[in-house]
Amino acid sequence: MISHIMRKEAMEVSRDGRTRLLAVIVLLLGLTGLLAGWANYTDQQRNAMFAQEIDQNVFLDQGEKNPHSAAHFGRMAYKPAPPLASFDPGAAQFMGQVIWLEAHQRNPAMFRPAADSLELSRLSSFSVAGILAVFLPLLVFLLGYAAFAGERERGTLRQTLASGTSVGALFTAKFVVIASAGVVLATVSIVVSTVMALFAPVSLSAADTLIRAFWLICVYAVYVVGLTGFALLVSSLCRHAKTALLVLLGIWAVSVMVLPRIGAGVAAQVHPIPDGAQVWRELRASVAENRAAPGTPEYRAAEQFVVSRALGRDVSLAEMDNMDLNSSGLRLEVNEVLDYAALNAFYTDIYAKYYGQREIRRWFSLLSPTIALQHASSAFSGTDFVAHQHFADSAELQRNEIVRVMNEDMLIHGAGMTTYLSDAEFWENVPDFEYVFPSASLSLRSALLDFVVLLLWGALASWLAWTFTRRRLAS
């Protein structure tokens, strides 16, 4: 029986000109979004690789130079774009593309692509994920608003039930057909994006990309299930198809267009990020406050640690005091070691504010599943803030390594010299930054709560839809 009803529902859906039109629009937009995203992605990737190569050449070509001067010149850590960024660029447009790795300070990523974009691009996102987030609910609601209300208006609902069709079979068939349309659309988009991502020139395994794609399909499928539940719930509750359509469009406008912005605004009010100038002021103060004074036990221990590490063996304090070392090199590296914790603690505080904002937005996702979808989608695409932090933390480790190599060169080889210059070949000893993307498990941890919220939404909406449909149709 169910298969008959499903066939009939599927035929109605395929014959509906509005549905066909919307599906074509979504596919065309999705294709355009995918091509634009892919062009943007390859461009970004090519630029990052080109800039990294130039940076490498420039760094090696410094000639004889004081290593601390070179440490200030520093290196650049260029952020590669993850392959699935062509599907969902997430907040990549609003995160810097490169981190300046230099002595004494940990810099934020700079050069947000959005700063060079047109201001009208702020009205909406043209990525595949952005298009799906806007149009999937619309498609499902348009397919579902008349499911019961329309049949009731036409009088066919009574006929169908009188012919012996059970409410459960009718509900299931409608649910499956409507949800399938949305799931198929999302799956096709994700599969095409994944196939393109598999050919991306980055160091991410095919297995990892496929795992991410699998989770993306799950996330969008659960989202569609929730939307379908909503559509059927409203359709069964409303007496007229027009009213059901109006209510669903209202829900769509509020949950897709309004609430994500309001959620972001409230989150920014609750966990405000200080302006850049203030951050630097506080950062300087925090570092100065936490840095031990020369001669104190903490400072002496840091000196001992630095010298032991540089020589590759344990050095006692007494031995250290009698060693012939470059005092500037020692002081600079000790300060790096002492500041490392303070700098990291400061950035952890800043990041905690970002995550605080994410928590607030998650509360809003209880009202709008679109927010949970955006979080989970960008997490599995590797374009959320967690992925960015992974890059920033890796870059910071590299910064410490670069500065350490240079300070140790001065410390060991510059003994007794007021102005020490490293050889022109020395720069080849400084390791290159080779970023390895985090695995899908990090994304899963990042998106787990959002996925749970989507699951809850899906389960609740489906249960409510079934409960109310059964009651309404029984009466």
């Binding site: 937009l29 461009d43 420039v58 050069f111 406008a253 309004v258 605004g265 302006d275």
Partner: protein, 478 residues
């Protein structure tokens, strides 16, 4: 029927219904939140500017005190040898917030509005050190009055007006209503204007309230002129959507058709055309990559350091007057620092010029493409009125760079010669002040598009009236 009768009837049948009142209340609530959010963003910017100015003032006060001491005591003063160096002078710069800045956040959340000028920092680092905002919040966008008007106003008009005539048609009572002696034209326009007018009235009331309440940082007299332009723009934008609704309604189709058609138009005008145009324009007119800019800057910095003595000699040849009987008083590393920064800035300026040129080419294209969507027209105008447009921020950044270049030209010879600034010379240097020269022109650019919108309204009204003249009530025989 008189106007009062129409209003009374509409109140009973539509506007006064609990569901409609809830929608109005929700809209008013969203407007209040939008205004609060815009104001909060503005306050944060104002406070940041105040802190920035205070910090620079404190630094420069100390610099001036030391220079005064050096000038009065000479070599007897126990001061750093770099005292009085023009390299240590810092200027505070900021983009003044326009009187209506709380109405539209625009690009103010991602583009710089303050920076310190110092000859120690190359241009490339002047604005890039401030990027700490939460990227996800930036992505989702802020909710301000501009967004509420561009996105929500048409939606609300559609929700309240889509069935203003088709509801009677669907219920087969349109013929009955018209048989009471009411003309279709009168019924059509009265209902539409009363329903849409109520939405616009609520909006304007809320905007006036915002204008009066949130006027702490700018006087009403400063805010009133841009506010009037803002309000006129809002009315024209609302008028456009009312005309679209009238046009769809005059097709004499069922309510479901109306809502679908209107929603499709809303999606197209507010989302698809702006984001699609933006994606296409950014592909057609790409800016040079910032990464290439950075690579160029670093290459130049390295080359300058490797050839510092030749560059210094060239500089001295260009300014021989500075070397006559002058013994260097300022440490040599400051000269190196100046030469490197100055050379890097000069080498990378063509790239920045290319950025400006690409941005201008894009803006020129937006000038054409905006006729495709009223949302683009209104969004751009609102940002210009609020002083938060990308154009104004880019102008600020350009002026800051020009100021720095002029300052470097002025004090550079002294730095290379190792000479401190004199107090008299320092005081003769005027601080940075943003030149607001482009605003009137920027606003003038929007006049034609607004007239275009107005013309569309007029055309739609004419078409609708023609259709109404031959309007057939469904189910009624001729």
């Amino acid at each position: 029927m008189t106007s009062g009768d129409w209003i009374s009837a509409e109140w009973k049948l539509n506007i006064g219904r609990p569901s409609s009142l809830v929608i109005f209340l929700a809209f008013a609530g969203l407007l209040i939140y939008a205004a609060f959010n815009g104001h909060s963003h503005l306050e944060n910017r104002m406070q940041a500017i105040d802190r920035h100015q205070a910090e620079i003032e404190q630094t420069m006060s100390s610099w001036r005190d030391n220079l005064a001491l050096k000038e009065s005591l000479g070599a007897q003063a126990d001061l750093s040898p770099r005292t009085g160096s023009a390299m240590d002078v810092r200027f505070s710069t900021y983009l003044p917030q326009a009187p209506l800045a709380d109405f539209a956040i625009g690009q103010a959340d991602i583009l710089p509005y303050l920076a310190a000028i110092s000859l120690s920092d190359p241009d490339i680092r002047m604005f890039s050190r401030y990027e700490f905002d939460d990227p996800i919040s930036l992505l989702l966008g802020s909710f301000d009055l501009s967004t509420a008007i561009v996105v929500l106003l048409p939606l609300l008009l559609i929700v309240l007006c889509f069935d203003f005539i088709s509801s009677d048609r669907d219920a087969n009572r349109l013929g009955l209503t018209l048989s009471q002696g009411i003309g279709i034209s009168s019924l059509f326009w009265s209902r539409l204007l009363i329903r849409s007018g109520s939405v616009v009235a609520v909006l304007i009331m809320m905007m006036v309230l915002v204008l009066l309440i949130q006027s702490g940082y700018a006087s009403i007299s400063e805010r009133i002129n841009p506010f009037l332009v803002w309000t006129a723009t809002t009315v024209i934008y609302a008028g456009f959507w009312v005309a679209v609704i009238a046009w769809v309604a005059s097709c004499n189709k069922r309510s479901e058709f109306n809502i679908m058609a209107l929603l499709s138009l809303w999606l197209a005008f507010v989302f698809i055309v702006p984001s699609g145009s933006s994606a296409i324009l950014e592909t057609v007119y790409p800016t040079p990559t910032r990464l290439a800019y950075l690579a160029e800057a670093r290459e130049t910095e390295n080359e300058t350091r490797l050839q510092e003595s030749e560059i210094a000699n060239q500089f001295i040849l260009d300014h021989p007057e500075m070397l006559v009987n002058e013994a260097a008083e300022i440490p040599a590393f400051l000269r190196s620092s100046f030469l490197v920064t100055n050379t890097v800035d000069q080498a990378t300026r063509p790239i920045l010029d290319e950025f400006e040129a690409a941005a201008q080419r894009r803006e020129a294209s937006v000038g054409v493409i905006r006729y495709l969507s009223p949302a683009i027209i209104v969004h751009g105008l609102f940002n210009d009125l609020a002083g938060t447009s990308a154009g104004r921020h880019h102008s600020y950044m350009q002026q800051v760079r020009e100021f720095k270049a002029a300052y470097a030209d002025r004090v550079g010879p002294g730095i290379v010669a190792g000479q401190p600034l004199s107090m008299a010379e320092f005081e003769s240097i005027e601080g940075f002040r943003f030149q607001e020269n482009a605003r009137v022109g920027a606003l003038g650019n929007h006049l034609l598009p607004l007239l275009f919108l107005f013309a569309l309204i007029v055309v739609a009204v004419v078409v609708v009236n023609r259709r109404l003249a031959s309007f057939r009530v469904v189910g009624q025989s001729d």
